[in-house]
């Protein structure tokens, strides 16, 4: 083997990708999909303020603090250090790209050399 893998493609994933494509189109044109003018109920308009950050947090936090379905029991985990640095960098510089770069600069040495 040359170490190159192409993974397995399954039809289910392709359907999900199609669904996500429809969601991109629908969310980006949400208020001009219909020809007639209409309004969201008040609670839904307010909910729009909170749902995106909640969705990101729900995906991101378990990926940082959990391993195989359990909360990590050790502090020797590269992800927590990288995430902590990432958050500090974001609020200091307001730059997502720098957050990724410096976060990975913490993550990779800990992960590769210490095996955290």
């Amino acid at each position: 083997m040359n170490g190159v893998t192409f993974g397995v493609t399954d039809a289910w994933t392709l359907w999900v990708i199609f669904g996500l494509t429809v969601i991109t189109a629908v969310t980006r044109s949400f208020f001009f999909l219909s020809n007639s003018e209409w309004h969201l109920p008040h609670w839904a308009q307010r909910g729009l303020q909170y749902a995106p950050i909640a969705a990101l947090s729900a995906v991101v936090i378990p990926e940082i603090v959990m391993t195989q379905g359990a909360l990590i029991a050790t502090w020797q985990d590269a992800r927590i250090f990288a995430a902590a640095v990432g958050v500090v960098v974001y609020f200091a510089k307001r730059d997502v790209l720098l957050t990724i770069v410096l976060g990975m600069a913490v993550y990779l040495p800990l992960h590769l050399s210490l095996g955290w």
Binding site: G7, T24, A54, S57, G69, Y90, L97, I100
Partner: protein
């Protein structure tokens, strides 16, 4: 859209291209990283390419990928993608005034190509919708220029990232760059106390309810966080009322 001559021959089209160029440059590393992260979090190359070409929404791609790999049911993946994309719903309300003179299909195609960057640059240049045919054409041409520059640079570097990913061993853990990217976007959205609360509640519920089947912890976390914030708004509003 940008393939139409009436738009890409218009002088505003070039303005759109050149206004987006510096942004596209800044986006190179992000696009590369997204391509690498898709493959390194366990999607096949074909799936990653299909997702990149079709979905064209970096944050929803990155959020959906761990769920797809974990075998979550389709509706959970789609609901999560929808919630991550809800910021576009807010943009679309603003863009409505600029686009309603177009027929429905061109409107939706225009919407599909209007990313965060394109939206921000567009409303910065045109703070009000034009009402003459000439003015509308100029706006449409400018948006088409932005869209072409944004789409082509994103696609080029995402696909390059997917190609490069195969040269990098999965054990390096580069998929984590995708999580850091989402974390950065999450921080950028934390613009009010209640949004910080939404973030904390959703994170805690997602961890506590992790044992739920079908990745339902994600859906539960979003629902609890949004409800908690709406309730806090009510409480605040009542406190603010003079007795």
């Amino acid at each position: 859209m940008f393939w139409q001559r009436r738009l890409n021959q218009h002088p505003e089209f070039k303005h759109g291209l050149s206004d987006l160029a510096p942004q596209a440059f800044g986006q190179i590393a992000w696009a590369l990283m997204t391509g690498v992260a898709l493959v390194k979090s366990g999607m096949s190359v074909f799936e990653s390419v299909a997702m990149t070409l079709c979905v064209y929404a970096g944050s929803s791609q990155l959020a959906a990928t761990p769920l797809i790999v974990a075998g979550a049911p389709a509706w959970v993946v789609l609901a999560t993608g929808f919630c991550v994309n809800l910021r576009f719903v807010v943009f679309s309300l603003h863009m409505r005034g600029y686009l309603m003179h177009l027929p429905r299909l061109p409107r939706i195609i225009t919407g599909y190509f209007t990313t965060d960057i394109a939206y921000v640059l567009f409303v910065r240049r045109f703070s009000h919708p034009e009402h003459t045919d000439e003015g509308r054409l100029a706006q449409e041409a400018y948006l088409a220029g932005l869209s072409l520059a944004n789409w082509s640079s994103w696609m080029l570097f995402s696909l390059l990232g997917i190609a490069l990913a195969n040269a990098i061993p999965t054990s390096w853990g580069l998929g984590f760059a995708g999580i850091l990217c989402l974390l950065g976007i999450q921080c950028s959205l934390a613009s009010s106390r209640l949004r910080v609360l939404a973030s904390l509640v959703a994170g805690a519920v997602a961890v506590l309810a992790y044992a739920l089947p079908l990745k339902l912890n994600i859906v539960l976390a979003i629902a609890v966080a949004v409800l908690a914030c709406l309730m806090m708004e009510q409480v605040k509003a009542q406190k603010a009322k003079p007795v």
